[in-house]
């Protein structure tokens, strides 16, 4: 029981950056712009977040800085891919590489701690929030503990992410912007003939992409750990992308995919060194591979064909 609780608890913490980045990718790719630059944008945001949160000793300032930084990079992506019809994947890679290089460079230039920002003071980080009644309800059998341990006691960005998912779903399916977004990723010609600017729509999409991606990055340095460390995204951007495709470019399924990734990781951590039934104790590497194997199996077994937005990856040019 406690085991389960602690795993669910971890699942939410670990899923948060994936969810935010995954939804960021959703905006971009639903508008027809491939975004493999999530990794780099998160990293840059993590750095900006860690820096500002340290200087102002204020996590929200850090979060904002992260969002603005990622926003800037998203605009670079838009400038290259939308304005200049550049190759979207090359642009994404470029952003990843520049971010990987520039963040430690600036970090050591400003703080002389190598590729790191200083460890954040407590007031510079997001602290766990205890939801009302968490303690009083704790003793209610089952649900009480669940509420107190799993639901309550997370940092602000975790709850923020939880709110953003329905928000994005609403935006995508219930608003004018969402309609145009879905249309432009499928058939930009139709959008154009309907008198809507394809470029403008894609820029907007990438703006949303940047803001969310920035949250994801800042979460890493300002909430989950304290301060920026070189390459600290450690592939989470790619994982988020995988979750997005896994979730067929839809908000709720993407959320589920992220939770799945996070859960299997939490499981993996707790299986290490524990003798398993039948096989006994297995090499750590195999346990560490569990999440990836599971993903592949699920993808092959249940999820079926993911149909990408039709216009994805293609710059929009008026011509046949």
């Amino acid at each position: 029981m406690d085991m389960i609780i602690s795993m669910l608890d971890a699942t939410f913490r670990v899923a948060t950056p994936l969810v935010l980045a995954g939804l960021a990718g959703l905006f971009s790719e639903r508008s027809g712009v491939v975004d493999i630059g999530l990794e780099g944008k998160m990293l840059a945001a993590a750095f900006a977040g860690g820096t500002v949160a340290f200087l102002l000793a204020n996590p929200w300032a850090g979060l904002l800085a992260g969002m603005l930084t990622a926003l800037f990079l998203s605009m670079v992506h838009a400038f290259a891919c939308v304005t200049h019809n550049g190759n979207q994947m090359v642009s994404g890679m470029a952003i990843n590489i520049v971010a990987a290089g520039i963040t430690p460079t600036l970090a050591s230039a400003w703080f002389h701690e190598g590729g790191r920002t200083p460890v954040l003071p407590t007031e510079g980080r997001f602290r766990p929030i205890d939801l009302p009644l968490a303690e009083t309800l704790r003793d209610v059998p089952l649900v009480g503990k669940l509420y107190a341990e799993v639901i309550s006691g997370h940092t602000a960005p975790v709850y923020l992410a939880a709110l953003i998912v329905p928000l994005v779903a609403y935006l995508l399916y219930q608003t004018r912007f969402g309609l145009r977004l879905r249309a432009v990723g499928e058939n930009p010609h139709a959008v154009d003939t309907a008198g809507i600017s394809v470029a403008r729509t894609r820029y907007l999409a990438l703006a949303c992409n940047g803001l969310l991606c920035g949250m994801a990055g800042a979460y890493l340095s300002v909430a989950q750990s304290s301060g920026f460390l070189q390459d600290m995204t450690a592939g989470k951007g790619y994982l988020a992308l995988a979750a997005l495709i896994f979730g067929k470019w839809k908000p709720w399924p993407t959320l589920l995919a992220c939770l799945l990734f996070a859960f299997t990781d939490a499981l993996q951590v707790r299986l290490q060194g524990v003798p398993l039934p039948v096989v006994g104790e297995v090499s750590v590497q195999f346990i560490q591979a569990v999440p990836y194997i599971l993903t592949v199996l699920l993808l092959a077994g249940f999820v079926g064909k993911a149909v990408a937005p039709k216009a994805i990856g293609l710059p929009y040019v008026k011509s046949r």
């Binding site: 406690d2 085991m3 602690s6 608890d9 971890a10 913490r13 670990v14 950056p17 430690p104 050591s108 701690e113 190598g114 590729g115 790191r116 460890v119 766990p128 890493l220 989950q224 750990s225 304290s226 301060g227 460390l229 070189q230 390459d231 600290m232 450690a234 592939g235 990781d265 939490a266 951590v269 707790r270 290490q272 060194g273 090499s283 750590v284 590497q285 560490q288």
Partner: protein, 312 residues
């Protein structure tokens, strides 16, 4: 014949807050004291190791210190090609007339901090977070476990490895998660031998009001009041000494193995963790330390013990 010393850091980079950084500090100390500048190079990818060594050797530097076992292959290859350049490899053994190998008895240092952890632990459960599941890291964990069991035979030892990619050494978020998962299982002291990932471990310990143990350089200051101690691996001394020996002309090829006795490994006690270590804890550790040096206590080296640990 130019005797400028040179140092080649490993992938972690010279500011990894532990292993490479220790080496860097050693070199800096040498520079301060002697006023002699040194050349340095940071490896970006595997393919660069030999190139870096060749580059330096061709420029006729006096000695090249290669930090980290990962450079063993490169040193083995390049050393013979430059017989009158001196090579030093840290954490691995290379047999060549112009090569000096410096290895550390991590098991001894880990034994000490393991014992201290067991004394500080109220739950009798001590944790270990390693970067990657490789022999060197296993040696850390094994010594640590031995120390813990020495104090409390019923002590429970829980180990986690971070990952299998180089990112494993730079993933504080993952480090924090691993630590928390151990805390949830009752652990209240965690030893992190995982480079930058350890920062996350210490952070998590602070957040959850538990204790952490640092590694390589003295990390007590990272989270004062949370870091119980640090298992010092005096790579700084090693680098400093080999630079000095070359300068003084007392440098010798061969293998040097540094343990507690040689002060190659040790535990750290300063004002940052003073309050955490009670007088009798300190006394106990001191005596264990003496016993290991005198050989009364045998800290088994996982690697020498055909890759198996006497305790688990």
């Amino acid at each position: 014949q130019d005797t400028t010393p040179a140092i080649v850091f490993d992938m972690g980079g010279k500011f990894d807050k532990s292993f490479n950084e220790a080496a860097y500090n050693g070199a800096e100390r040498f520079k301060k004291e002697t006023g002699t500048a040194y050349r340095e190079f940071e490896i970006t990818n595997e393919n660069q190791r030999e190139q870096a060594l060749t580059n330096l050797a061709r420029r006729g530097v006096g000695v090249i210190v290669s930090v980290g076992f990962a450079q063993q292959a490169a040193v083995e290859k390049i050393a013979p090609q430059f017989p009158n350049v001196k090579f030093v490899i840290i954490d691995s053994v290379v047999n060549a007339p112009n090569a000096q190998s410096i290895i550390f008895k991590e098991e001894e240092g880990s034994f000490l901090v393991g014992a201290l952890a067991a004394m500080a632990s109220k739950t009798g459960k001590v944790g270990f977070v390693g970067g990657m599941d490789i022999p060197l890291i296993r040696a850390f964990g094994c010594g640590y476990a031995q120390g813990a069991k020495y104090i409390n035979p019923k002590a429970e030892y829980i180990a986690n490895m971070t990952g299998t990619t180089p990112a494993a050494w730079r993933d504080p978020a993952k480090g924090a998660e691993l630590a928390i998962s151990q805390f949830d299982r009752g652990v209240d002291v965690v030893f992190a031998a995982a480079g930058g990932t350890g920062i996350g471990v210490m952070q998590a310990a602070k957040d959850k009001g538990k204790l952490a143990v640092g590694v390589d350089s003295n990390q007590n200051h990272v989270q004062p009041g949370t870091v119980l101690t640090s298992m010092l691996k005096r790579v700084d001394n090693a680098v400093y000494n080999s630079f000095m020996d070359v300068k003084k002309g007392t440098w010798k090829a061969g293998t040097i193995s540094l343990g507690l006795k040689e002060e190659g490994v040790d535990w750290a006690l300063d004002d940052n963790n003073r309050k955490l270590v009670t007088a009798d804890m300190e006394a106990k550790i001191k005596s264990i330390r003496a016993d290991i040096i005198s050989g009364k206590i045998k800290a088994v080296d996982y690697r020498a013990n055909n890759n198996s640990c006497p305790v688990s």
